[in-house]
């Protein structure tokens, strides 16, 4: 089956139906392994067990940005190629992205209070993630306010691409500004600086979260396609009567 077939909603639905159970299973396995590794990981010399919050905070943060990247690609699909599933992909991803961003902020707050004495600071990294959370919510509000999915999709696509400017700001904020937040530890040109016994659970949890996103995203896209079918049928119903 060629990639182009994925553009056909019905084929896409069939594909999702076949693939989803396997993805869900893979997600569950990844989380199981991840939890085990988290429990086995040693406590940090300075932070104690609190460092284990990192295993949810950091993957959530990565995913928050990754989902915006996925939405940006979808937005290009809407604006440049008019792909029929593009705005479905963008709309379905936004609530998941908002949820992970919230999780990142909350877990980070729970980590920050015992470690650095405060639930929140307005430093560059935290503020730019909060701004991204705000933008996620704004996108969801846009889709929730405009009735016509096509018009909403195009406006949202522009906002997504404009908002993508926030991504490099988030990534490099800890380098450019003097912040309370920790500097980059994993995605560095020289290689990660984290000790392997901490790196392993982190990467497995990140994989688990990513699989969770893919599973949820495909399921949400299926729901959105069904929702649009309902809308079309309703229009036909009105004309028929």
């Amino acid at each position: 089956m060629a990639l182009i077939d994925l553009a056909n909603p019905s084929r896409f639905l069939a594909l999702v139906g076949r693939v989803l159970p396997w993805l869900a299973l893979a997600t569950a396995i990844a989380f199981a392994i991840g939890i085990v590794l988290v429990l086995m990981a040693p406590d940090d010399y300075q932070q104690g067990a609190t460092v284990k919050i990192m295993f949810v905070h950091v993957p959530a943060a990565w995913l928050a940005s990754l989902i915006w990247v996925v939405m940006s690609i979808a937005a290009l699909g809407t604006l440049a190629w008019r792909h029929p599933l593009a705005d479905v992909a963008a709309k379905s991803a936004a609530p998941i992205g908002a949820a992970f961003t919230f999780l990142c902020l909350f877990a980070g707050s729970m980590w920050g209070r015992p470690m650095w004495g405060t639930y929140w600071v307005w430093d560059a990294r935290l503020t730019s993630v909060l701004v991204m959370f705000l933008m996620y919510l704004g996108l969801i509000a846009l889709w929730h306010t405009v009735e016509d999915p096509t018009r909403a999709g195009r406006t949202a696509a522009i906002l997504i691409l404009v908002g993508a400017i926030n991504l490099p700001i988030i990534k490099f904020s800890v380098d450019w500004w003097n912040t309370l937040h920790q500097g980059t530890s994993v995605f560095r040109l020289e290689g990660p600086t984290i000790y392997p016994t901490i790196l392993a659970p982190l990467l497995v949890m990140a994989l688990a979260f990513t699989l969770l996103f893919v599973t949820l995203h495909l399921a949400a896209m299926r729901n959105e396609i069904l929702r649009r079918r309902v809308r079309t049928l309703r229009v036909l119903q009105a004309h028929g009567a």
Partner: protein, 468 residues
């Protein structure tokens, strides 16, 4: 029952619309108002409905409950359909049934107009003809003796017009009265005709036409006692009394409808919270990330955010109802307008103000407030946001009266909210100790809310009533 108008004249925006219009109709009779566009047919109907006051002359309704106004005895079917697009066919009709009276089952009315297969369809998907039929269903669902119809056949196909003619005949046969503005025949037998000639603005009885703007009732209406009238049914039957809903039922139906619409797509619930978050996020960009400073100004920032979010969300409150024609029906046919306005305010606060209160502790954490401060601010917001909504009602009503929204209305209303802001922030600060006891500004805040509970709806209702 007799509906009559004597020597009616109407001037709008300084231009005379018509003068010396008189008519009299009794139970079982229909009056057709005809005339070119702009001759004042709609104006005359709105005059009878009680939405406009005549500059001269008066309208009288004899033979029914003298306490009732015409509006309470009549259905007014305007050009607009008074339908909410996000509600389904059944929900739209169900609302009007509950609001206007202990209606007959809406299902029967929907079947009579042929929409019973579409009950679950949101009204946004209906065609123009279907919308008109749904509006007609409202006339069938709740009984009112007088029907005021403005071009009822507009958008109806031939079948629809035939059904409408039958419905009107049935209504007349049971002793009702119909006054209809129309361009063409409606298919009712024996209706009288009142022809408005229009003419140029400012004309009086012109020299060229003997009648000019002076009109008379023509047709088979002129009878002397003893002569039989046209048999349109049991003409000696008086119409049934209009059944009206209890005040509580009407208010409840408006409250539920507004909450439902706010929660659906396009409704805008929770938008205020998003704006609130945006304001809170903006402040540290302007003030700098100094946590000690933010802690000191935190309560004020939260109050300002809640104030702006409340006011900006209000200007569509009545304007949406005005645009689709619901406001006319609510003003003329429902419970006292002050109470209805209060019910809408309650629904608005529940979907806009209360979420602000619930979100404020979370935003308080962002501003580095201590728990005592967060609790105090949330409590003052809980008591103060209703005041903001109630005072904002005045702006919302002005948006209808002035037919414009935008920034003007918050600007007008902001000065009125200043006392609430002052005492709200003062109470939040006082809760943390200091020379002033918490109770002092807090009780004043409560008093302000209670005062606004009276002033807001009364001022808003007065403004809405005087809108032309």
């Amino acid at each position: 029952m007799k509906l009559s108008g004597t020597d009616l004249a109407c001037v709008r925006a300084g231009l005379p619309i018509f003068r010396d219009v008189s008519f009299a109709i009794e139970a079982g009779q229909a009056l057709l108002i005809t005339g070119p566009n702009g001759s004042g047919k709609t104006t005359l109907l709105r005059l009878i409905a009680g939405l406009i006051r005549p500059t001269q002359g008066h309208i009288m309704l004899g033979g029914v409950d003298p306490e009732a106004s015409i509006g309470e005895e009549a259905h007014y079917l305007a050009h607009q359909d008074a339908l909410k697009p996000s509600l389904t066919v059944a929900e739209n009709l169900g609302f009007w049934s509950r609001f206007l009276g202990p209606g007959a089952s809406p299902e029967a009315a929907l079947a009579a107009v042929g929409l019973d297969s579409l009950t679950g369809l949101p009204a946004a998907y209906l065609s123009a003809g279907q919308r008109r039929r749904l509006s007609l269903a409202r006339l069938l669902a709740v009984y009112r003796p007088i029907w005021l119809l403005d071009e009822p056949t507009a958008a109806l196909d031939a079948d629809g017009q035939a059904s409408l003619a039958k419905l009107m005949q049935d209504h007349l046969a049971s002793g009702g009265i119909i006054v209809a503005a129309t361009h063409g025949p409606l298919g009712i037998n024996g209706a009288s005709e009142l022809r408005l000639s229009g003419g140029e603005p400012g004309c009086g009885p012109g020299p060229a036409s003997p009648s000019g703007a002076r009109e008379e009732v023509r047709g088979n209406e002129a009878v002397s006692p003893g002569r039989s009238r046209l048999a349109v049914g049991r003409i000696t039957t008086q119409p049934q009394a209009a059944k009206r809903a209890t005040v509580r039922q009407s208010l409840g139906s408006i409250f539920i409808r507004d909450v439902t619409i706010a929660l659906r797509v396009g409704g805008g619930a929770l938008m205020g919270v998003l704006f609130f978050l945006a304001v809170v996020t903006l402040i540290p960009f302007a003030l700098g990330p100094d946590l000690a400073l933010l802690r000191r100004v935190g309560p004020a920032v939260l109050w300002l955010g809640a104030l702006l979010a409340s006011l900006l969300a209000l200007d569509r409150l009545f304007a949406a109802d005005q645009d689709d024609g619901s406001l006319d029906l609510i003003v003329t046919s429902g419970p006292p307008l002050e109470l209805t306005v209060g019910a809408k305010a309650a629904a608005h606060w529940l979907t806009t103000g209360l979420p602000l209160v619930v979100a404020s502790p979370l935003f308080g954490v962002l501003l580095n407030l201590e728990p005592g401060s967060i609790g105090a601010t949330a409590l003052t917001l809980l008591v103060g946001t209703p005041a903001l909504t109630l005072i904002g009602l005045i702006g919302a009503a002005l948006a209808v009266a002035l037919r414009r929204g935008g920034i003007l209305l918050p600007v007008l209303v902001l000065p009125l909210t200043i006392p609430v802001l002052i005492f709200g922030v003062a109470a939040a600060h006082a809760a943390l100790g200091g020379p002033v006891r918490f109770a002092t500004p807090f009780t004043i805040l409560c008093a302000l809310t209670l005062i606004s509970l009276v002033i807001g709806p009364f001022a808003a209702a007065a403004t809405l009533r005087h809108t032309e």
